[in-house]
Amino acid sequence: MTLSRIIMSRIIVRSAAALAVALVFSVVVVQAARAQDSEPEAPTRQHWSFHGAFGSYDPAQLQRGFKVYKEVCSNCHSLKLIAFRNLADPGGPDFSEAQAQAIASGYQVTDGPNDQGQMFQRPGRLADAFPPPFANDNAARAALGGALPPDMSVLAKARGYEWGFPWFILDAFTQYQEDGPDYIHALMTGYTDPPKGVTLPPGAQYNKYFLGHAIGMPKPLSDGQVEYTDGTPATVDQYGRDVAAFLMWAAEPSLDARHRLGFQVMIYLIVLAGLLYFTKKKVWYDVAH
């Protein structure tokens, strides 16, 4: 019996050691492989006003970001799921209803068919969604040399960066969920000349944060391009951050309400758990267990 126990514990130690070695080995191999190919660079994490349980959107930043979207991005990118009325929703860019109405009437929206069976153009209303810049995907491709600009409605949640171990565990505790905005900001600032020996396909630009590095979108922003009236620096870095914040709001318009309700729910649950803990102590007081 003792012999079998010794053999068993040896087997345990060996199998545990073998598993550990295999895991370490595999991680080393893959890290090495990863360093060689054209993986995108990790975006730099920015400070976001909406990060964490008490974070909320900065309306001034969302308004600046909207300006960048309107003057630059919207030439190619649609925002189909956002209606003009959303611009005046609480927890958003904080435009008044009149301002949102004014923005809407600056757009021409296709409506119809009318009594004659014809489609027609009319100024936008609050209930309308942002009209897309192209009639359809093929029209966009035809106009832009084959590249299709993605719709921006949920883009900030549809992009990200995988930091790998141990960050993916730590981020659950620090509540870091802003990889999408980080990526968008990085992409705006990531246009560089291609490194030596790298040839790009015709029409493509080099961007160090883009997967594969060859991006179809020409460098969209340059310093001073969009006029800021509130004294915020008019730099690509700032434009990128502002438009990323605006797109995060577009993707997650209920974030402020969610954080507020979450705080209330947490207080409720913690008090409830405390009360139940003492109830349990009382109920089990004279029961040995």
């Binding site: 209920s254 139940l276 029961v287 267990h289």
Partner: protein, 418 residues
């Protein structure tokens, strides 16, 4: 149920009802007077948590279904409509989506507890097998639910998983087209997945009734693995177990709410916020975290058919656990070797989960193969042999004896303390 008074209806209506439908007596004997071992620890609260989660998923799911459109052209945008235009729709959706993850987290804890304390052993085999059936139903329900938002990961997960059936010789391809309702994952597939995703939770609820029934026939296991013998070993379900369950459910909800309100997309994949596009394969197709260990087993095996068999076998083997484990001692507390092998098994499953999230290249494949060998070796080699070779620790004569010796040991050095 000796020692506990039987149900005596107090008011006139309950007296009237009890003579026609003795539901008061059923509830009383099942959830109030039901004797539960007094030494249960908090690992025994996951059954209650799972029942709670099933309720949460069914209630949120029914409301979500009122606003959802199961059509390839509208599904993605209807989910976004829920997020934007339905009052508290974002809350419903995040509670439901994260609820699936927490449902699985709870079921894995529940299964791990069963394995650690030998809860599958005689006379609880049927109870355990019903549990394995529940887990299989959960896997199917969760998978079909993940397809419904019709994002890129939804679509490609549906494609990859349904394509697994094409590995079956001769009839594989016809089965796959039959599952799809066409020649690719499309509108008919989405519609039937929605239909089944709505149906299966009620099947789960039915099997849960059987699971609880079987539990109440054989009684709960406990950390010693020794059967409860008399009323000194047990306490009444209410208030003792109910208050304990309620306390732990509230703790569980704190973690759950942390995810729902502060990091609701942490467990999801960003690609699933891109509308499904059959013409564009994502860079890296990964299932939800709770399927990753099985996904790693599938990819560890170079042959497709063998991989699919291993994937299914990894779950089905659990049903045979009562007979693969040859030891007569239930609790790992009294089985020192089993306990160590079991901890390595848990570590191997977590390791497989990590490997399942990585690209299947180089060392990751080798590691996944080693861990897969351990996974099956644990069931087919280690468990049968351990029962014959292992020297177990002496078992207490009864639950109350183990409690007495524990409290004596605890109170002797530092004086009386409850």
């Amino acid at each position: 149920m000796s020692g506990h008074a039987t149900y005596q209806p107090q008011n006139g209506f309950m007296k009237w009802l009890e003579r026609r439908l003795p539901i008061g007596g059923l509830v009383y004997s099942s959830f109030i007077a039901y004797p539960t071992p007094r030494n249960l620890n908090y690992w025994w609260t996951f059954g209650g948590i799972l029942t709670f989660m099933l309720g949460v998923q069914i209630v949120t799911g029914i409301v979500l279904a009122m606003h959802y459109t199961p059509h390839v052209d509208y599904a993605f945008n209807s989910v976004e409509g829920i997020m934007r235009d339905v009052p508290f729709g974002w809350l419903l959706r995040y509670v439901h989506a994260n609820g699936a993850a927490f449902f699985f987290a709870a079921v894995y804890m529940h299964m791990a507890r069963g394995m650690y304390y030998g809860s599958y052993k005689e006379p609880r085999e049927v109870l355990w097998i019903l549990g394995v059936i529940l887990f299989l139903l959960m896997v199917a329900t969760g998978f079909m639910g993940y397809v419904l938002p019709w994002g890129q990961m939804s679509f490609w997960a549906a494609t990859v998983i349904t394509n697994l059936f094409s590995a079956i010789p001769l009839v594989g391809d016809p089965i796959v087209s039959w599952l799809w309702g066409g020649f690719a994952v499309g509108d008919p597939t989405l519609n039937r997945f929605f239909s089944l995703h709505y149906l299966l939770p009620f099947v789960i609820a039915g099997v849960v009734v059987l699971h609880i029934w079987a539990l109440h026939v054989v009684g709960q296991n406990n950390p010693t693995g020794v059967d409860a013998k008399d009323e000194k070993d047990t306490v009444a379900f209410t208030p003792y177990a109910t208050v304990k369950d309620a306390f732990f459910v509230s703790l569980f909800c704190i973690v759950y709410a942390w995810f729902v309100f502060f990091i609701p997309n942490y467990l999801g994949h960003s690609d699933n916020y891109i509308m499904a596009n059959p013409g564009q394969t994502p860079n890296h197709i990964v299932p939800e975290w709770y399927y990753l260990p099985f996904y790693a087993i599938l990819r560890a095996i170079p042959n497709k058919l063998a991989g699919v068999c291993a994937l299914g076998g990894a779950i089905v083997v659990l049903a045979f656990l009562p007979w693969l484990d040859t030891s007569r001692v239930r609790s790992a507390n009294y089985r020192p070797l089993y306990r160590q092998f079991l901890y390595i098994f848990f570590a191997a499953v977590v390791g497989l989960g990590y490997l399942g999230s990585q690209e299947p290249t180089g060392g990751y494949v080798i590691a996944a193969r080693l861990l897969t060998i351990y996974y099956f070796g644990f069931f087919f080699v280690i468990l049968p042999l351990l029962g014959l070779l292992e020297t177990t620790k002496p078992l207490p004569n009864s639950i109350s004896e183990s409690i007495l010796s524990k409290s004596a040991a605890a109170s002797s050095p530092s004086g009386a303390k409850v």
